[in-house]
């Protein structure tokens, strides 16, 4: 595989939006980052954020069926980038969707904290979405320097 100049390592996983893949996706990202020797809390934060993004695809993007989720992972220096992309329903109002405790399915015990977790557990979260076409969420997290 050809990699870009500054990219240390890359991973791409494509899987159907089945809830049993939530664990696989976050564990794969954890295993991908592990050789960088991250601190346990950083690894845990990243896995939690990935779990939220993948769950959003399953619960919201492909609410009425099963679709394809693409996960791209990249480590460049000490920065980890994870992009989670779906071709599902898309988000009408991204700002509203990212409000803490906002949920479109209150009857289902969804806490409405998905984006809040991503934002507080990562350094940056960017969301691109088009209603009817899909959503992509990009998480970035810098691993701390160790002595």
């Amino acid at each position: 595989m050809r990699t870009k100049k500054k990219t240390d390592n890359e991973l791409k996983i494509i899987f159907p939006s089945l809830s049993e893949n939530e664990g696989m996706a976050r564990t794969a990202v954890g295993a991908f980052v592990a050789p960088k020797n991250p601190r346990l809390d950083e690894l845990c934060d990243l896995k939690t954020a990935v779990s939220e993004a993948v769950t959003n695809c399953i619960v919201h993007a492909y609410r009425d069926g099963v679709g394809i989720i693409e996960l791209f992972c990249k480590i460049s220096g000490d920065e980890v980038t994870v992009k989670i992309k779906d071709r599902g329903s898309g988000i009408e109002d991204i700002k509203k969707a990212m409000e803490p405790l906002y949920t479109t399915c209150p009857g289902e015990e969804r806490a409405g904290l998905g984006f809040s977790v991503m934002e507080s557990f990562c350094d940056s979260v960017s969301v691109k979405s088009k209603p009817g076409a899909g959503t992509s969420v990009t998480l970035k997290k810098k691993l701390r320097q160790r002595l």
Partner: protein, 103 residues
């Protein structure tokens, strides 16, 4: 992803093990709610000592059990929560339910 139920009418303890996410929470929910229905406890204690991972689905799980217990006039307490999980709970202000004394 088993949950170990013990106790009864006074205090019902549900010890959750493994990972709590959207996938596992539906089974946890039905197991815990069945135990609540069977025992009608005054207090439900959720023990997180065996939980290795939790995302915001766990917050939804706790919120739902809190509501369920409140409707029955009972209370809910959370014990033995690992730091990483407490962090997720704190985002929802649910860490208030944490028992100070760790078992």
């Amino acid at each position: 992803m088993p949950v170990y139920i013990s106790g009864g009418e006074e205090l019902l303890t549900a010890k959750i093990t493994g990972e709590i996410d959207h996938h596992s929470s539906r089974w946890l929910r039905s197991d815990i709610d069945t135990a609540i229905m069977d025992n009608s406890p005054k207090k439900l204690r959720l023990d997180f000592s065996g939980v290795s991972f939790m995302d915001s689905s766990g917050v939804g799980l706790v919120m739902g059990r809190y509501k369920n217990m409140k409707e029955r006039g009972g209370t809910l307490e959370l014990v033995n929560m690992p730091k990483s999980i407490e962090k997720v709970m704190a985002l929802a202000g649910m860490d208030r339910l944490l028992e100070e004394d760790k078992e």
